[in-house]
């Protein structure tokens, strides 16, 4: 399965990022082989609004089937659903570790938002 992990940097060793729409990178990984497919810069990370749906669109265009992340806002969840992308939360540590946890079924599959609108934005500002 083609996974996208919200991350703070590029590659398999990058730290995961808790924010779905506002993470600086998405690292795309093949879950079966554990192989790095691509690190995609999230252009909408700093957008004034709509970062979640834009990120969902980005991943949908790349044929991503599931995202591994920390929190997903309501608009992002809606857009991911429309893109038929599954959502798993509970990532921590590196991208690699997140993929491993996914393969061990240790991440939490969610179908609804895990956080309120714009909360990713506030966290981003505090940094």
């Amino acid at each position: 399965m083609k996974l996208a992990i919200s991350a703070q940097g590029e590659g398999l060793n990058a730290q995961t990022d808790q924010r779905f729409g506002r993470c600086p990178y998405f690292v795309l990984v093949d879950s079966e082989s554990g192989e790095l497919l691509e690190s995609v810069r999230n252009e909408s990370a700093g957008a004034a609004g709509g970062a979640g749906p834009q990120s969902a669109q980005l991943l949908s265009h790349r044929g991503v089937e599931a995202v591994l992340t920390g929190n997903v806002g309501p608009k992002a969840a809606h857009a991911l659903k429309a893109g038929r992308i599954k959502i798993y939360t509970g990532v921590e540590g590196s991208v690699c570790a997140a993929v491993q946890k996914f393969n061990e079924n240790k991440l939490i599959a969610v179908s609804e938002a895990t956080t309120s609108a714009h909360s990713g934005m506030q966290k981003g500002r505090q940094r």
Partner: protein, 287 residues
């Protein structure tokens, strides 16, 4: 005649008080003064002026609706939208209305003509008069964030042969730019505190980017230090008026009254402020 914006880098500096008093101070000498409240998120000039409204009109913006039978999910609309209001996902186009500025680009550029537009109400504009003073204002619907189109609708009410005083929203972002652009002069109201100074700096950068001549009114001028004045001297911004903290003034403000209607000296000072502005304003050539 002249479009004069009253702005401030942040809220609560007394911007509206200055706008209202300036307008009222000019009333005895001019027949063509109008005040336009463009602070549409928190309009309060009407509380001081208590105008009688004669006209009220709903303002909306055209937002897209997608005909999913025609749409090929090509993604073009999302590419052209500068505001992230559209996301194309598999077999669905998601529209985030609250982000849409109603620019029309998506409908215009959709290759399948799959986008139609409908009107989404964002607020109301009202106009009327308070005695000799003409008044207009914009009132954003509660919870609404899309203020620039409403501000533009208020500004359409500007009468070209009038002294038009425009109470701009606080801050330095989009709504303020909508309010002050196209004006002949921008008066910046500030307070002599470190925060005030910082906001003044941002506001003065904004007006200079817009190429607007500007001057400063320092409110509660006796409460802080002289850094504000030093800043102005350095930035080449004339300080046109200093308003010391005044019990009478504060009391009138609390009762929603304008100081110039009660006090001759203040009327004189606000008139002098206006002369300062007109003497200071870059001559605008009108075709």
């Amino acid at each position: 005649m002249i479009n004069l914006a009253i702005a401030s880098g942040k809220g609560g500096t007394g911007k509206t008080t200055v706008a209202v008093n300036l307008a009222l101070a000019l009333i005895p000498d001019y027949d063509n003064v109008e005040l336009l409240d463009c602070d549409v998120e928190e309009p309060n000039a009407h509380l001081f002026l208590k105008p009688e409204f004669e006209l009220e009109k709903a303002v909306g913006i055209p937002v897209p609706a997608v005909d999913h039978d025609r749409c090929t999910f090509c993604g073009r609309c999302s590419e052209v939208c500068m505001f992230n209001a559209l996301a194309v996902l598999k077999d669905q186009v998601i529209i985030l209305e609250e982000l849409c500025h109603g620019c029309g680009s998506c409908a215009y550029l959709c290759p399948e003509k799959a986008i139609t537009e409908y009107n989404r109400p964002i607020g109301t504009i009202k106009s009327g008069s308070a005695g000799k003073l003409k008044f207009g204002g914009g009132y954003l619907n509660p919870g609404e964030a899309m203020s620039p189109p409403l501000i533009n609708a208020v500004k359409k009410m500007i009468q070209p042969d009038h002294i038009s005083i425009i109470d701009a929203p606080p801050g330095t972002s989009c709504p303020v730019v909508s309010a002050v652009s196209g004006c002949d002069y921008c008066l910046l109201v500030t307070e002599p505190t470190p925060f005030g100074l910082n906001d003044l700096d941002l506001a003065s950068q904004m007006v200079s980017k817009l190429g607007l001549p500007a001057g400063v009114v320092i409110n509660r001028s006796d409460l802080g230090d002289d850094r504000g004045e030093k800043y102005c001297r350095h930035a080449g911004l004339p300080v046109l008026q200093k308003i010391p903290f005044d019990k009478e003034l504060a009391g009138l403000y609390a009762r929603g009254e304008a100081v110039v209607s009660h006090n001759r000296e203040w009327r004189r000072r606000f008139k002098a402020l206006f002369s300062g502005i007109t003497g200071n304003k870059k001559e605008v050539s009108r075709p």
